[in-house]
Protein backbone atom coordinates (compact mmCIF):
# COMPACT_ATOMS: atom_id res chain seq x y z
CA UNK A 1 0.00 0.00 0.00
CA UNK A 2 1.52 3.31 -1.06
CA UNK A 3 1.06 6.48 0.97
CA UNK A 4 -1.22 7.76 -1.78
CA UNK A 5 -3.38 4.65 -1.57
CA UNK A 6 -3.50 4.90 2.20
CA UNK A 7 -4.75 8.48 1.90
CA UNK A 8 -7.27 7.50 -0.75
CA UNK A 9 -8.69 4.84 1.55
CA UNK A 10 -9.31 7.42 4.28
CA UNK A 11 -10.86 9.86 1.82
CA UNK A 12 -13.19 7.19 0.47
CA UNK A 13 -14.40 6.47 3.98
CA UNK A 14 -15.14 10.16 4.41
CA UNK A 15 -16.85 10.43 1.03
CA UNK A 16 -19.21 7.52 1.71
CA UNK A 17 -20.22 9.07 5.01
CA UNK A 18 -20.65 12.62 3.72
CA UNK A 19 -22.62 11.75 0.59
CA UNK A 20 -25.09 9.59 2.49
CA UNK A 21 -25.26 12.07 5.37
CA UNK A 22 -26.06 14.87 2.94
CA UNK A 23 -28.78 12.80 1.29
CA UNK A 24 -30.37 11.76 4.58
CA UNK A 25 -30.37 15.26 6.01
CA UNK A 26 -32.93 16.22 3.36
CA UNK A 27 -35.51 14.15 5.27
CA UNK A 28 -35.39 16.54 8.21
CA UNK A 29 -38.87 18.09 8.33
CA UNK A 30 -40.34 15.74 5.73
CA UNK A 31 -40.47 12.28 7.33
CA UNK A 32 -43.54 10.04 7.48
CA UNK A 33 -43.77 10.49 11.26
CA UNK A 34 -42.01 12.92 13.58
CA UNK A 35 -40.04 10.08 15.17
CA UNK A 36 -38.50 9.31 11.77
CA UNK A 37 -37.53 12.93 11.19
CA UNK A 38 -35.56 12.57 14.37
CA UNK A 39 -34.12 9.13 13.59
CA UNK A 40 -33.03 9.98 10.04
CA UNK A 41 -31.56 13.31 11.14
CA UNK A 42 -29.67 11.50 13.87
CA UNK A 43 -28.27 9.05 11.37
CA UNK A 44 -27.29 11.94 9.08
CA UNK A 45 -25.58 13.66 11.99
CA UNK A 46 -23.60 10.53 12.83
CA UNK A 47 -22.47 10.18 9.23
CA UNK A 48 -21.50 13.83 8.87
CA UNK A 49 -19.53 13.47 12.10
CA UNK A 50 -17.74 10.41 10.72
CA UNK A 51 -16.98 12.28 7.48
CA UNK A 52 -15.49 15.16 9.45
CA UNK A 53 -13.23 12.79 11.37
CA UNK A 54 -11.98 11.01 8.27
CA UNK A 55 -11.48 14.26 6.34
CA UNK A 56 -9.62 15.89 9.19
CA UNK A 57 -7.33 12.88 9.37
CA UNK A 58 -6.86 12.84 5.58
CA UNK A 59 -6.09 16.56 5.55
CA UNK A 60 -3.49 16.17 8.28
CA UNK A 61 -1.87 13.22 6.52
CA UNK A 62 -1.65 14.89 3.11
CA UNK A 63 -0.24 18.02 4.77
CA UNK A 64 -1.14 20.46 2.00
CA UNK A 65 -2.83 23.03 4.18
CA UNK A 66 -6.33 21.76 3.43
CA UNK A 67 -8.96 21.05 6.07
CA UNK A 68 -12.20 19.07 6.28
CA UNK A 69 -14.16 21.83 4.55
CA UNK A 70 -11.76 22.14 1.66
CA UNK A 71 -12.08 18.43 1.10
CA UNK A 72 -15.87 18.57 1.28
CA UNK A 73 -16.55 21.78 -0.61
CA UNK A 74 -13.68 22.26 -3.05
CA UNK A 75 -13.42 18.88 -4.72
CA UNK A 76 -15.36 18.06 -7.89
CA UNK A 77 -17.59 15.05 -8.44
CA UNK A 78 -14.71 13.35 -10.23
CA UNK A 79 -12.64 13.61 -7.06
CA UNK A 80 -15.35 12.08 -4.85
CA UNK A 81 -14.89 8.33 -4.52
CA UNK A 82 -18.03 7.25 -2.71
CA UNK A 83 -19.99 4.16 -3.68
CA UNK A 84 -22.69 4.92 -6.26
CA UNK A 85 -25.47 3.62 -4.02
CA UNK A 86 -25.05 6.49 -1.58
CA UNK A 87 -25.63 9.29 -4.07
CA UNK A 88 -28.88 7.77 -5.37
CA UNK A 89 -31.81 10.12 -4.70
CA UNK A 90 -33.89 9.67 -1.56
CA UNK A 91 -36.97 8.60 -3.50
CA UNK A 92 -39.76 7.52 -1.16
CA UNK A 93 -39.21 6.35 2.39
CA UNK A 94 -38.81 2.74 1.24
CA UNK A 95 -36.06 3.71 -1.23
CA UNK A 96 -34.22 5.59 1.50
CA UNK A 97 -34.54 2.70 3.95
CA UNK A 98 -33.35 0.11 1.43
CA UNK A 99 -30.33 2.27 0.54
CA UNK A 100 -29.61 2.59 4.26
CA UNK A 101 -30.12 -1.12 4.84
CA UNK A 102 -27.71 -2.20 2.09
CA UNK A 103 -25.08 0.32 3.11
CA UNK A 104 -25.35 -0.15 6.87
CA UNK A 105 -24.89 -3.92 6.50
CA UNK A 106 -21.69 -3.21 4.57
CA UNK A 107 -20.44 -0.25 6.60
CA UNK A 108 -20.96 -2.03 9.90
CA UNK A 109 -18.85 -5.03 8.83
CA UNK A 110 -16.21 -2.77 7.31
CA UNK A 111 -16.07 -0.52 10.33
CA UNK A 112 -15.83 -3.42 12.77
CA UNK A 113 -12.75 -4.56 10.85
CA UNK A 114 -11.28 -1.03 10.77
CA UNK A 115 -11.69 -0.71 14.51
CA UNK A 116 -9.69 -3.92 15.09
CA UNK A 117 -6.89 -3.54 12.52
CA UNK A 118 -3.46 -2.55 13.83
CA UNK A 119 -2.08 -0.81 10.74
CA UNK A 120 -3.50 2.66 11.39
CA UNK A 121 -4.36 3.50 14.99
CA UNK A 122 -6.07 6.77 14.12
CA UNK A 123 -8.41 5.10 11.65
CA UNK A 124 -9.09 2.44 14.29
CA UNK A 125 -9.99 5.17 16.77
CA UNK A 126 -12.48 6.83 14.44
CA UNK A 127 -13.93 3.44 13.51
CA UNK A 128 -14.33 2.38 17.13
CA UNK A 129 -16.68 5.31 17.71
CA UNK A 130 -18.44 4.91 14.36
CA UNK A 131 -19.12 1.21 14.79
CA UNK A 132 -21.57 1.89 17.63
CA UNK A 133 -23.43 4.39 15.47
CA UNK A 134 -23.50 2.06 12.50
CA UNK A 135 -24.90 -0.73 14.66
CA UNK A 136 -27.85 1.52 15.46
CA UNK A 137 -28.24 2.56 11.80
CA UNK A 138 -28.32 -1.09 10.80
CA UNK A 139 -30.91 -2.01 13.42
CA UNK A 140 -33.09 0.96 12.52
CA UNK A 141 -33.02 0.12 8.80
CA UNK A 142 -33.47 -3.62 9.34
CA UNK A 143 -36.50 -3.05 11.58
CA UNK A 144 -38.11 -0.89 8.91
CA UNK A 145 -37.36 -3.50 6.21
CA UNK A 146 -39.30 -6.02 8.28
CA UNK A 147 -42.19 -3.62 8.98
CA UNK A 148 -42.49 -2.55 5.36
CA UNK A 149 -41.96 -6.03 3.94
CA UNK A 150 -44.41 -7.70 6.32
CA UNK A 151 -46.78 -4.72 6.66
CA UNK A 152 -49.42 -4.11 3.99
CA UNK A 153 -49.57 -5.38 0.40
CA UNK A 154 -48.76 -1.87 -0.78
CA UNK A 155 -45.71 -1.50 1.46
CA UNK A 156 -44.50 -4.99 0.52
CA UNK A 157 -44.68 -4.19 -3.19
CA UNK A 158 -43.09 -0.80 -2.79
CA UNK A 159 -40.14 -1.96 -0.75
CA UNK A 160 -39.58 -5.00 -2.96
CA UNK A 161 -39.39 -2.64 -5.96
CA UNK A 162 -36.85 -0.50 -4.07
CA UNK A 163 -34.77 -3.60 -3.36
CA UNK A 164 -34.90 -4.75 -6.96
CA UNK A 165 -33.91 -1.30 -8.18
CA UNK A 166 -31.07 -0.61 -5.76
CA UNK A 167 -29.65 -4.13 -5.82
CA UNK A 168 -27.48 -3.36 -8.85
CA UNK A 169 -25.58 -0.78 -6.79
CA UNK A 170 -24.50 -3.29 -4.13
CA UNK A 171 -21.97 -5.15 -6.26
CA UNK A 172 -19.61 -2.19 -6.09
CA UNK A 173 -19.06 -2.77 -2.37
CA UNK A 174 -17.26 -6.02 -3.10
CA UNK A 175 -15.66 -5.24 -6.41
CA UNK A 176 -12.10 -4.59 -5.24
CA UNK A 177 -9.95 -2.19 -7.22
CA UNK A 178 -6.20 -1.66 -6.79
CA UNK A 179 -6.64 0.56 -3.77
CA UNK A 180 -8.92 -1.95 -2.02
CA UNK A 181 -6.53 -4.77 -2.85
CA UNK A 182 -3.49 -2.88 -1.56
CA UNK A 183 -5.37 -1.90 1.60
CA UNK A 184 -6.45 -5.49 2.23
CA UNK A 185 -2.93 -6.77 1.52
CA UNK A 186 -1.54 -4.34 4.10
CA UNK A 187 -4.19 -5.34 6.63
CA UNK A 188 -5.90 -1.93 6.78
CA UNK A 189 -9.00 -2.96 4.85
CA UNK A 190 -10.96 -6.20 5.08
CA UNK A 191 -10.88 -8.81 2.37
CA UNK A 192 -13.93 -7.93 0.30
CA UNK A 193 -14.70 -11.54 -0.65
CA UNK A 194 -14.97 -12.40 3.05
CA UNK A 195 -17.03 -9.26 3.67
CA UNK A 196 -19.42 -10.27 0.94
CA UNK A 197 -20.33 -13.48 2.76
CA UNK A 198 -21.04 -11.63 5.98
CA UNK A 199 -23.08 -9.01 4.11
CA UNK A 200 -25.11 -11.61 2.24
CA UNK A 201 -25.87 -13.45 5.46
CA UNK A 202 -27.08 -10.30 7.19
CA UNK A 203 -29.16 -9.08 4.26
CA UNK A 204 -30.68 -12.44 3.36
CA UNK A 205 -31.72 -13.23 6.93
CA UNK A 206 -33.49 -9.90 7.30
CA UNK A 207 -35.19 -10.08 3.90
CA UNK A 208 -36.46 -13.56 4.70
CA UNK A 209 -37.92 -12.33 7.98
CA UNK A 210 -39.52 -9.47 6.04
CA UNK A 211 -41.07 -11.93 3.53
CA UNK A 212 -39.08 -10.16 0.79
CA UNK A 213 -37.11 -11.70 -2.05
CA UNK A 214 -33.39 -11.26 -2.44
CA UNK A 215 -32.73 -10.50 -6.13
CA UNK A 216 -30.50 -12.69 -8.25
CA UNK A 217 -27.08 -11.21 -8.86
CA UNK A 218 -27.15 -9.65 -12.31
CA UNK A 219 -25.15 -6.84 -13.85
CA UNK A 220 -23.78 -4.53 -11.21
CA UNK A 221 -23.16 -0.79 -11.58
CA UNK A 222 -19.65 0.41 -10.86
CA UNK A 223 -17.47 3.51 -11.11
CA UNK A 224 -18.00 5.52 -7.92
CA UNK A 225 -14.68 4.52 -6.40
CA UNK A 226 -12.98 5.67 -9.60
CA UNK A 227 -14.81 9.00 -9.63
CA UNK A 228 -17.20 8.04 -12.42
CA UNK A 229 -20.58 8.73 -10.89
CA UNK A 230 -24.26 8.64 -11.73
CA UNK A 231 -25.87 11.88 -12.93
CA UNK A 232 -27.07 12.64 -9.42
CA UNK A 233 -23.83 13.46 -7.61
CA UNK A 234 -22.94 16.58 -9.53
CA UNK A 235 -26.30 18.17 -8.66
CA UNK A 236 -25.94 17.18 -5.05
CA UNK A 237 -22.48 18.73 -4.83
CA UNK A 238 -23.56 21.88 -6.68
CA UNK A 239 -26.14 22.51 -3.99
CA UNK A 240 -23.92 21.49 -1.10
CA UNK A 241 -20.91 23.50 -2.25
CA UNK A 242 -22.63 26.67 -3.42
CA UNK A 243 -21.75 29.01 -0.54
CA UNK A 244 -18.06 28.20 -0.05
CA UNK A 245 -17.53 28.35 -3.80
CA UNK A 246 -19.42 31.63 -4.17
CA UNK A 247 -17.51 33.25 -1.30
CA UNK A 248 -14.15 31.46 -1.30
CA UNK A 249 -12.54 34.02 1.03
CA UNK A 250 -15.20 33.84 3.71
CA UNK A 251 -15.15 31.85 6.91
CA UNK A 252 -18.45 30.96 8.49
Amino acid sequence: MTEGQHLQIILRLGDDALVLGQRLSAWCGHGPVLEEDIALSNTALDLIGQARNFYTLAAAREDQGRDEDQLAFFRTDKEFQNHLLLEQPNGHFGDTIVRQFFFSAFALERCAFLSRQLVDAEVAGIAAKAVKELQYHWEHAAQWIVRLGDGTTESHEKVQASIDHLWSYTGEFFNADEVDAAGAEAGLLPNLAVMRKAWNARVEACLAQATLTCPEDGWMQRGGKQGIHSEHLSYMLAEMQVLPRTYPDATW
Binding site: A26, P32, E35, S41, R52, R147
Partner: protein
Protein backbone atom coordinates in the same frame (compact mmCIF):
# COMPACT_ATOMS: atom_id res chain seq x y z
CA UNK B 1 -73.33 25.40 35.93
CA UNK B 2 -74.48 23.08 38.72
CA UNK B 3 -73.63 23.83 42.37
CA UNK B 4 -71.15 20.92 42.34
CA UNK B 5 -69.37 22.36 39.32
CA UNK B 6 -69.33 25.82 40.85
CA UNK B 7 -67.76 24.37 43.92
CA UNK B 8 -65.16 22.50 41.83
CA UNK B 9 -64.37 25.61 39.84
CA UNK B 10 -63.91 27.70 42.96
CA UNK B 11 -61.55 25.09 44.37
CA UNK B 12 -59.69 24.94 41.06
CA UNK B 13 -59.26 28.73 40.98
CA UNK B 14 -57.99 28.76 44.55
CA UNK B 15 -55.60 25.90 43.81
CA UNK B 16 -54.14 27.69 40.78
CA UNK B 17 -53.90 30.96 42.69
CA UNK B 18 -51.70 29.17 45.21
CA UNK B 19 -49.29 28.39 42.35
CA UNK B 20 -50.04 24.67 42.53
CA UNK B 21 -49.78 22.46 39.45
CA UNK B 22 -52.77 20.92 37.72
CA UNK B 23 -52.12 17.34 36.61
CA UNK B 24 -53.90 15.38 33.83
CA UNK B 25 -56.23 13.48 36.18
CA UNK B 26 -57.26 16.54 38.17
CA UNK B 27 -60.62 18.17 37.55
CA UNK B 28 -60.33 21.28 35.37
CA UNK B 29 -62.84 23.64 33.75
CA UNK B 30 -63.62 22.79 30.13
CA UNK B 31 -62.47 26.21 28.99
CA UNK B 32 -59.10 25.71 30.71
CA UNK B 33 -58.68 22.37 28.95
CA UNK B 34 -59.66 23.88 25.60
CA UNK B 35 -57.35 26.86 26.02
CA UNK B 36 -54.45 24.57 26.82
CA UNK B 37 -55.17 22.22 23.93
CA UNK B 38 -55.31 25.21 21.59
CA UNK B 39 -52.12 26.75 22.94
CA UNK B 40 -50.01 23.59 23.31
CA UNK B 41 -51.00 22.18 19.93
CA UNK B 42 -50.32 25.54 18.27
CA UNK B 43 -46.97 25.52 19.96
CA UNK B 44 -46.26 21.95 18.77
CA UNK B 45 -47.30 22.87 15.23
CA UNK B 46 -45.01 25.89 15.35
CA UNK B 47 -42.11 23.63 16.21
CA UNK B 48 -42.66 21.32 13.27
CA UNK B 49 -43.57 23.99 10.73
CA UNK B 50 -40.60 25.90 12.11
CA UNK B 51 -38.34 23.07 10.97
CA UNK B 52 -39.01 24.03 7.34
CA UNK B 53 -37.46 27.52 7.00
CA UNK B 54 -34.27 26.39 8.69
CA UNK B 55 -34.31 22.96 7.10
CA UNK B 56 -34.16 24.91 3.85
CA UNK B 57 -30.44 25.60 4.48
CA UNK B 58 -29.21 22.25 5.83
CA UNK B 59 -28.18 21.06 2.37
CA UNK B 60 -26.34 24.35 1.71
CA UNK B 61 -24.71 25.02 5.08
CA UNK B 62 -21.31 26.56 4.32
CA UNK B 63 -19.13 24.27 6.46
CA UNK B 64 -19.46 20.77 7.82
CA UNK B 65 -19.49 22.10 11.37
CA UNK B 66 -22.32 24.54 10.55
CA UNK B 67 -24.18 21.76 8.76
CA UNK B 68 -23.98 19.52 11.81
CA UNK B 69 -25.05 22.32 14.18
CA UNK B 70 -27.99 23.34 12.01
CA UNK B 71 -29.14 19.77 11.53
CA UNK B 72 -28.92 19.13 15.26
CA UNK B 73 -30.89 22.29 15.89
CA UNK B 74 -33.69 21.45 13.49
CA UNK B 75 -33.76 17.96 14.96
CA UNK B 76 -34.22 19.54 18.39
CA UNK B 77 -37.30 21.32 17.05
CA UNK B 78 -38.75 17.95 16.06
CA UNK B 79 -38.06 16.78 19.60
CA UNK B 80 -39.87 19.83 20.99
CA UNK B 81 -42.81 19.01 18.74
CA UNK B 82 -42.87 15.51 20.23
CA UNK B 83 -42.79 16.68 23.87
CA UNK B 84 -45.53 19.18 23.17
CA UNK B 85 -47.82 16.81 21.26
CA UNK B 86 -47.38 14.41 24.16
CA UNK B 87 -48.22 17.14 26.68
CA UNK B 88 -51.36 18.01 24.68
CA UNK B 89 -52.33 14.33 24.51
CA UNK B 90 -52.60 14.28 28.32
CA UNK B 91 -55.60 16.60 27.85
CA UNK B 92 -57.50 14.01 25.83
CA UNK B 93 -56.69 14.90 22.23
CA UNK B 94 -54.70 12.64 19.86
CA UNK B 95 -51.72 13.60 17.73
CA UNK B 96 -53.67 12.47 14.69
CA UNK B 97 -56.49 14.92 15.49
CA UNK B 98 -54.05 17.74 16.08
CA UNK B 99 -52.24 17.09 12.80
CA UNK B 100 -55.56 16.97 11.03
CA UNK B 101 -56.43 20.40 12.42
CA UNK B 102 -53.08 21.73 11.24
CA UNK B 103 -53.44 20.28 7.76
CA UNK B 104 -56.98 21.56 7.27
CA UNK B 105 -56.00 25.03 8.43
CA UNK B 106 -58.19 24.84 11.55
CA UNK B 107 -55.22 25.09 13.89
CA UNK B 108 -52.67 27.89 13.67
CA UNK B 109 -48.91 27.96 14.08
CA UNK B 110 -46.57 30.87 14.69
CA UNK B 111 -46.81 33.25 11.73
CA UNK B 112 -43.09 33.95 11.79
CA UNK B 113 -42.48 30.71 9.90
CA UNK B 114 -44.38 32.06 6.92
CA UNK B 115 -41.42 34.27 6.08
CA UNK B 116 -38.78 32.93 3.70
CA UNK B 117 -35.16 32.15 4.60
CA UNK B 118 -33.33 33.74 1.70
CA UNK B 119 -29.68 33.64 2.68
CA UNK B 120 -27.39 31.83 5.09
CA UNK B 121 -27.54 34.88 7.35
CA UNK B 122 -31.18 34.02 7.98
CA UNK B 123 -29.92 31.00 9.93
CA UNK B 124 -28.23 33.48 12.22
CA UNK B 125 -31.13 35.92 12.38
CA UNK B 126 -33.71 33.21 13.01
CA UNK B 127 -31.68 31.78 15.87
CA UNK B 128 -30.83 35.13 17.35
CA UNK B 129 -34.16 36.96 16.93
CA UNK B 130 -36.87 34.36 16.41
CA UNK B 131 -35.56 31.93 19.02
CA UNK B 132 -34.75 34.92 21.22
CA UNK B 133 -38.34 36.14 21.02
CA UNK B 134 -39.63 32.59 21.52
CA UNK B 135 -37.59 32.26 24.71
CA UNK B 136 -39.07 35.49 26.09
CA UNK B 137 -42.50 33.99 25.55
CA UNK B 138 -41.58 30.53 26.74
CA UNK B 139 -39.54 30.97 29.89
CA UNK B 140 -42.63 32.07 31.88
CA UNK B 141 -44.41 28.93 30.63
CA UNK B 142 -41.99 26.81 32.67
CA UNK B 143 -44.06 27.99 35.65
CA UNK B 144 -47.44 27.64 34.02
CA UNK B 145 -50.20 25.98 36.01
CA UNK B 146 -50.50 22.86 33.86
CA UNK B 147 -47.82 20.38 35.03
CA UNK B 148 -47.08 18.47 31.80
CA UNK B 149 -46.79 21.71 29.79
CA UNK B 150 -44.59 23.38 32.40
CA UNK B 151 -42.27 20.38 32.54
CA UNK B 152 -42.04 20.10 28.74
CA UNK B 153 -41.18 23.80 28.59
CA UNK B 154 -38.25 23.40 30.99
CA UNK B 155 -36.56 21.10 28.48
CA UNK B 156 -37.61 23.18 25.49
CA UNK B 157 -36.23 26.39 27.01
CA UNK B 158 -32.86 24.85 27.80
CA UNK B 159 -32.43 23.87 24.18
CA UNK B 160 -33.86 27.12 22.82
CA UNK B 161 -31.41 29.24 24.74
CA UNK B 162 -28.61 27.16 23.24
CA UNK B 163 -30.11 27.77 19.79
CA UNK B 164 -30.29 31.46 20.42
CA UNK B 165 -26.63 31.64 21.38
CA UNK B 166 -25.62 29.71 18.33
CA UNK B 167 -27.74 31.95 16.08
CA UNK B 168 -25.95 34.93 17.57
CA UNK B 169 -22.63 33.19 16.89
CA UNK B 170 -23.56 32.81 13.20
CA UNK B 171 -24.41 36.54 13.09
CA UNK B 172 -21.16 37.44 14.83
CA UNK B 173 -19.09 35.44 12.35
CA UNK B 174 -20.87 37.17 9.48
CA UNK B 175 -20.65 40.62 11.02
CA UNK B 176 -16.91 40.18 11.48
CA UNK B 177 -16.47 38.57 8.08
CA UNK B 178 -16.06 39.89 4.54
CA UNK B 179 -18.08 42.95 3.36
CA UNK B 180 -20.46 40.59 1.55
CA UNK B 181 -21.02 38.61 4.73
CA UNK B 182 -21.67 41.74 6.75
CA UNK B 183 -24.17 42.95 4.16
CA UNK B 184 -25.84 39.55 4.31
CA UNK B 185 -26.17 39.88 8.09
CA UNK B 186 -27.63 43.39 7.88
CA UNK B 187 -30.10 42.32 5.22
CA UNK B 188 -31.26 39.43 7.40
CA UNK B 189 -31.74 41.74 10.39
CA UNK B 190 -33.72 44.14 8.19
CA UNK B 191 -36.08 41.39 7.12
CA UNK B 192 -36.48 39.58 10.48
CA UNK B 193 -36.66 42.46 12.95
CA UNK B 194 -40.28 43.48 12.55
CA UNK B 195 -41.70 39.99 12.14
CA UNK B 196 -39.84 39.06 15.35
CA UNK B 197 -41.55 41.89 17.25
CA UNK B 198 -44.88 40.66 15.90
CA UNK B 199 -44.22 37.26 17.48
CA UNK B 200 -45.39 38.65 20.83
CA UNK B 201 -48.87 39.05 19.42
CA UNK B 202 -51.20 42.06 19.25
CA UNK B 203 -50.93 45.00 21.61
CA UNK B 204 -52.41 44.28 25.03
CA UNK B 205 -55.48 46.35 24.20
CA UNK B 206 -56.22 44.00 21.26
CA UNK B 207 -55.27 40.64 22.76
CA UNK B 208 -58.37 38.43 22.98
CA UNK B 209 -57.23 35.52 25.14
CA UNK B 210 -54.92 37.29 27.57
CA UNK B 211 -57.00 38.13 30.65
CA UNK B 212 -58.37 34.65 31.28
CA UNK B 213 -54.99 33.02 30.61
CA UNK B 214 -53.38 35.34 33.14
CA UNK B 215 -55.96 34.37 35.74
CA UNK B 216 -55.25 30.68 35.10
CA UNK B 217 -51.49 31.17 35.41
CA UNK B 218 -50.99 30.03 31.84
CA UNK B 219 -49.82 33.47 30.83
CA UNK B 220 -47.63 35.48 33.21
CA UNK B 221 -46.71 38.66 31.37
CA UNK B 222 -48.56 40.69 28.81
CA UNK B 223 -47.61 40.78 25.11
CA UNK B 224 -46.37 44.35 25.34
CA UNK B 225 -44.31 43.69 28.46
CA UNK B 226 -42.54 40.78 26.81
CA UNK B 227 -42.03 42.71 23.57
CA UNK B 228 -40.42 45.57 25.49
CA UNK B 229 -38.18 43.14 27.33
CA UNK B 230 -37.10 41.64 23.99
CA UNK B 231 -36.29 45.04 22.48
CA UNK B 232 -34.32 46.07 25.56
CA UNK B 233 -32.31 42.88 25.45
CA UNK B 234 -31.68 42.86 21.71
CA UNK B 235 -30.65 46.45 20.97
CA UNK B 236 -27.29 46.18 22.79
CA UNK B 237 -26.65 42.85 21.05
CA UNK B 238 -27.18 44.48 17.64
CA UNK B 239 -24.76 47.21 18.70
CA UNK B 240 -22.20 44.58 19.63
CA UNK B 241 -22.62 43.07 16.17
CA UNK B 242 -22.21 46.49 14.57
CA UNK B 243 -25.55 46.12 12.80
CA UNK B 244 -28.38 48.65 12.56
CA UNK B 245 -31.89 47.86 13.69
CA UNK B 246 -34.26 49.02 10.94
CA UNK B 247 -36.34 51.42 13.08
CA UNK B 248 -35.76 55.18 12.90
CA UNK B 249 -37.90 55.68 16.02
CA UNK B 250 -35.73 53.44 18.16
CA UNK B 251 -34.09 55.35 21.03
CA UNK B 252 -33.33 54.99 24.71
CA UNK B 253 -35.94 56.62 26.94
CA UNK B 254 -34.18 57.69 30.11
CA UNK B 255 -37.42 58.39 31.93
CA UNK B 256 -38.99 55.00 31.25
CA UNK B 257 -35.71 53.13 31.51
CA UNK B 258 -36.60 51.33 28.27
CA UNK B 259 -36.12 51.69 24.55
CA UNK B 260 -38.92 53.41 22.65
CA UNK B 261 -39.59 51.84 19.29
CA UNK B 262 -41.71 52.45 16.22
CA UNK B 263 -45.25 51.34 15.44
CA UNK B 264 -45.65 47.77 14.21
CA UNK B 265 -47.38 47.28 10.84
CA UNK B 266 -50.34 45.34 12.18
CA UNK B 267 -51.91 45.13 8.76
CA UNK B 268 -49.04 42.88 7.68
CA UNK B 269 -49.34 40.83 10.87
CA UNK B 270 -53.04 40.12 10.35
CA UNK B 271 -52.52 39.38 6.67
CA UNK B 272 -49.83 36.81 7.39
CA UNK B 273 -52.16 35.21 9.97
CA UNK B 274 -54.94 35.15 7.39
CA UNK B 275 -52.72 33.18 5.02
CA UNK B 276 -51.29 35.94 2.87
CA UNK B 277 -47.69 35.71 4.08
CA UNK B 278 -44.92 34.99 1.58
CA UNK B 279 -44.73 31.26 2.45
CA UNK B 280 -48.04 30.27 4.10
CA UNK B 281 -49.05 28.04 1.22
CA UNK B 282 -45.64 26.40 0.80
CA UNK B 283 -45.24 25.66 4.50
CA UNK B 284 -48.61 24.02 4.88
CA UNK B 285 -48.26 22.20 1.57
CA UNK B 286 -44.90 20.79 2.70
CA UNK B 287 -46.43 19.47 5.94
CA UNK B 288 -49.42 17.98 4.14
CA UNK B 289 -47.17 16.37 1.53
CA UNK B 290 -44.93 14.78 4.17
CA UNK B 291 -48.01 13.44 5.95
CA UNK B 292 -49.68 12.10 2.82
CA UNK B 293 -46.48 10.64 1.36
CA UNK B 294 -45.90 8.92 4.68
CA UNK B 295 -49.38 7.40 4.97
CA UNK B 296 -48.39 4.04 3.49
CA UNK B 297 -45.43 3.87 5.88
CA UNK B 298 -47.60 4.47 8.95
CA UNK B 299 -50.17 1.98 7.67
CA UNK B 300 -47.44 -0.62 7.17
CA UNK B 301 -46.10 -0.07 10.69
CA UNK B 302 -49.60 -0.45 12.14
CA UNK B 303 -50.35 -3.55 10.08
CA UNK B 304 -47.08 -5.12 11.16
CA UNK B 305 -47.70 -4.31 14.81
CA UNK B 306 -51.18 -5.84 14.58
CA UNK B 307 -49.81 -9.01 13.00
CA UNK B 308 -47.26 -9.32 15.79
CA UNK B 309 -49.95 -8.75 18.38
CA UNK B 310 -52.16 -11.40 16.77
CA UNK B 311 -49.26 -13.88 16.77
CA UNK B 312 -48.68 -13.21 20.45
CA UNK B 313 -52.36 -13.65 21.28
CA UNK B 314 -52.44 -16.88 19.27
CA UNK B 315 -49.40 -18.22 21.05
CA UNK B 316 -50.93 -17.41 24.43
CA UNK B 317 -54.23 -19.06 23.47
CA UNK B 318 -52.45 -22.21 22.32
CA UNK B 319 -50.29 -22.31 25.41
CA UNK B 320 -53.42 -22.08 27.54
Amino acid sequence: MSPVEMNLEARFDAYVAEEKKIEPKDWMPDAYRKTLIRQISQHAHSEIVGMLPEGNWISRAPSLKRKAILLAKVQDEAGHGLYLYSAAETLGVTREQMLDDLHTGKAKYSSIFNYPTLTWADMGAVGWLVDGAAIMNQVPLCKCSYGPYARAMVRVCKEESFHQRQGFQVMLNLAQGTPEQKAMAQDALNRWWWPSLMMFGPNDSDSPHSAQSMKWNIKRFSNDELRQRFVDMTVPQAELLGLTIPDSDLRWNEERGHYDFGEIQWEEFYNVIKGNGPCNKERLAARVKAHEDGAWVREAANAYAQKQQAKKTNATTHAA
